[in-house]
């Protein structure tokens, strides 16, 4: 049977998991960024199309209207001039000055080659040859002209029965001003739409993408070891189907991991009954070891140490697999680390392990932590065992305190733990680099269990160098600060 088939629980042991988890830098923009960009592009394109449409329609319409108005006025004025010339015989200059005109427009009259005008700036020369020719040919015409750089519309109407023609020149700069304002308005609205739609897109895509964020948060939680993480689809109908399948997957995974852990737990549990028979039978045989021949005694000794290791392995395996299976029997109480360390060292002395006195710093003698006493005892025992079996022997145990933590420091006299192995030393069945696969005493689970238990109690454990050159294990536990009166 391979007892190394410990469930591959997703939660690693020890501070190794606290190392930086490299996250790939996103080379492509985020989904939200791309959605926002697309929205902005569409909004800008639509606005540009709309602005161009408005520009074309508005300018065409305004020009058309202006042309109609000016033509109507010119024709009306031409009729009045014709009446004036034929009936009343007024001089042309007086006739022109009596005409109703809009502000800025100029009337000109060509009376048998005699030109009269109401303006000093605009006379015969300002009217293009083509226009004059067309009107002289009996054809009412109009043409855009420029006088001193300003735009005008010249309209010419031949007077019926006479060799005369009436011209009226209308200023267009107001229309141009209107066009300019319209252009500015349209352009600036296009420019304003870009950032505005980007902002709106960013804001609008947030709730739309929130389900994705919740899914990724839940997935990260599971990857981080919280197998119970689920997505709560309430408040977001769009999340319901994906949440259902996600939760089903997570539940299947959790069940699988728990089943694996339970299997390991059951196996080690089943092993305890035969172990009881073995250890008891062995101690019975041991009590009559004197009656055995020397080689029988040696064989018994080998058997005894092997059974002891086996017992430890089964014990540790049971404990760690129960933790994997989600055991929730954490019983936190107020514990004085100094007293607990003293007891653990006394047990070691009683078991023939020599005497090491605990050093308790002045401010740490009364420090109380919230801890599971049984687990903390186990942590101490495993650290002391580790120092004795792998670290060349325990040299010192110190209890210190920082403002928020109590620290239990366990030093040994071994070669220490190389920097590179400090993260992996708390992993299951981790062996020092020197002894790749060779068997060493102990279960190989002791430090994994230490890390597991300490984390469960809200603390941390690290390994550094002892001042004397060996390894130093430091367990930090939060100081009890609650006010509940439970004992």
């Amino acid at each position: 049977m391979s007892l190394t088939a410990v469930p591959a629980a997703p939660s690693a042991d020890g501070p190794a998991v606290e190392g930086p988890r490299r996250r790939r830098a996103p080379r492509t923009p985020s989904l939200r960024g791309r959605a926002t960009l697309a929205l902005t592009a569409v909004a800008v394109a639509l606005t540009v199309a709309l602005a161009v449409g408005v520009w074309v329609a508005a300018t065409q319409y305004l020009l058309y209207t202006r042309q109609n108005v000016t033509l109507a006025q010119a024709v009306a004025n031409a009729a009045q001039v014709q009446r004036g010339l034929s009936a009343e015989g007024l001089p042309p200059a007086e006739l022109l000055s009596q005409l109703p005109r809009e502000t800025g427009s100029v009337s000109l009259l060509a009376d048998d080659g005699e030109w009269s005008t109401t303006s000093l700036r605009i006379g015969r020369e300002e009217l293009p040859e083509a226009l004059r020719g067309a009107v002289a040919g009996g054809q009412p015409s109009r043409q855009r002209i420029a006088v001193d750089g300003e735009p005008y519309l010249a309209v010419g109407v031949p007077l019926a029965g006479l060799q005369d023609a009436y011209f009226e020149v209308f200023p267009l700069h107001e229309l141009d001003d209107t066009f300019r304002v319209l252009g500015v308005v349209l352009t600036s609205s296009v420019l304003a739409v870009a950032p505005l739609s980007a902002a709106v897109g960013w804001w609008v895509t947030r709730p739309a993408l929130r389900p994705l964020e919740r899914i990724s948060a839940a997935a990260a939680a599971i990857a981080g070891g919280d197998l119970g993480a689920r997505i709560d689809p309430r408040g977001d109908p769009s999340l319901v189907p994906i949440a259902a399948s996600f939760n089903a997957t997570a539940a299947a995974l959790e069940q699988r991991v728990r089943a694996d852990a339970r299997f390991a737990s059951d196996v080690s549990h089943e092993l305890r009954s035969p172990l009881t028979t073995m250890t008891t039978a062995m101690s019975l045989v041991g009590s009559c070891a004197d009656a055995l021949p020397p080689d029988g005694r040696e064989a018994l000794e080998l058997l005894r140490s092997e059974v002891r290791d086996f017992e430890q392995l089964v014990d540790d395996l049971l404990e760690i697999s129960r933790a994997d299976a989600g055991s929730t029997d954490l019983a936190l109480e107020d514990v004085r680390p100094a007293a607990l360390v003293r007891e653990a060292l006394a047990r070691r002395t009683a078991a023939g392990g020599g005497t090491v006195e605990v050093t308790v710093r002045a401010d740490a003698s009364d420090v109380v932590v919230r801890a599971d006493k049984r687990r903390l005892e186990r942590v101490l025992r495993n650290l002391i065992d580790n120092a004795d079996t792998h670290g060349g022997g325990l040299t010192a145990v110190t209890v210190e305190r920082s403002p928020d933590h109590a620290c239990i420091v366990v030093d040994d006299s071994g070669p220490g733990v190389p920097e590179a192995e400090r993260g992996t030393v708390f992993e299951r069945f981790a062996r020092g680099s020197g002894s790749t696969r060779s068997r060493t005493p102990g279960s190989g689970l002791g430090l994994a269990l230490v890390s597991r238990h300490v984390q469960l109690m809200g603390g941390s454990v690290v390994v550094t160098d002892a001042s004397g050159g060996g390894a130093r294990f430091v367990v930090r536990l939060p100081v009890a600060g609650g006010t509940d009166g439970g004992a």
Partner: protein
């Protein structure tokens, strides 16, 4: 005087080998392969200690333990495969006085059996203590309330008597383990906590707000002076 033990365990190999080991330790051992058989044997004659496996066919260990408690004050040591599980607390709640975890060492087990058997005798001549309407008479081994005997197990009585002997002083769990169970360093403080809980149910007017056996947070328990 040879101590007598009744070992109730369904696993025959364990039963045989543990009996062998305990006999070698100088104990008189009777074996029972089921809860029913164990209760029948207990009815035939008294034993100093009952060793009870929690996993039994038919009536399980908890049930058998409650039944033993109903009819006698014989100390019960339960045998469990898991030290960390709720089994321990549940077993103590069911009335067990102590527990051992498989795999156990025969020498340690016999030491516990002897400690339990020893301390169930009269704890010497100590003065009577009166707390409210409760009267503790260590010499007689009884606790009375208004003249009526409060039915305590021997361990519960011993616990109360130790607290009464040091009235007004706080006794830590470790001290109580040593005084009541006779352990140094090997005890489990849950033994004390569960027994205090059981004791309170029997002697306190309101077990949720104890006035006789009070908790001193982070320190232990005390009988107010």
């Amino acid at each position: 005087m040879r101590r007598s033990v009744l070992f109730i365990e369904d696993d025959e190999r364990i039963r045989r080998v543990v009996s062998l080991a305990l006999r070698r330790e100088g104990l008189e051992v009777a074996e029972a392969g089921s809860g029913e058989e164990g209760l029948a044997r207990l009815a035939e004659r008294p034993y100093d200690v009952v060793l009870l496996d929690l996993v039994l066919p038919g009536r399980d260990g908890f049930e058998v333990c409650r039944e033993i408690r109903r009819v006698s004050t014989t100390p019960v040591i339960m045998v469990t495969a898991r030290a960390d599980s709720r089994d321990v607390v549940a077993g103590l709640e069911a009335g067990a006085d102590d527990y051992v975890t498989k795999p156990f060492v025969a020498e340690e087990l016999s030491a516990r059996i002897r400690a339990l058997a020893r301390r169930t005798r009269s704890p010497g001549a100590r003065p009577r203590v009166v707390v409210g309407d409760l009267e503790i008479a260590p010499a007689d081994g009884v606790v009375t309330r208004g003249g009526e005997v409060v039915p305590l197990t021997r361990t519960e009585f011993k616990l109360l008597a130790e607290l009464a002997a040091e009235r007004g002083r706080v006794l830590s769990r470790e001290e109580l383990l040593e005084r009541v169970w006779g352990y140094d360093y090997f005890g489990d403080s849950r033994l004390v906590d569960v027994h205090v809980r059981r004791l309170r149910v029997k002697v306190e007017a309101d077990p949720a707000n104890p006035t006789i056996v009070t908790t001193v947070r982070g320190m232990g328990y005390r009988l107010p002076g």
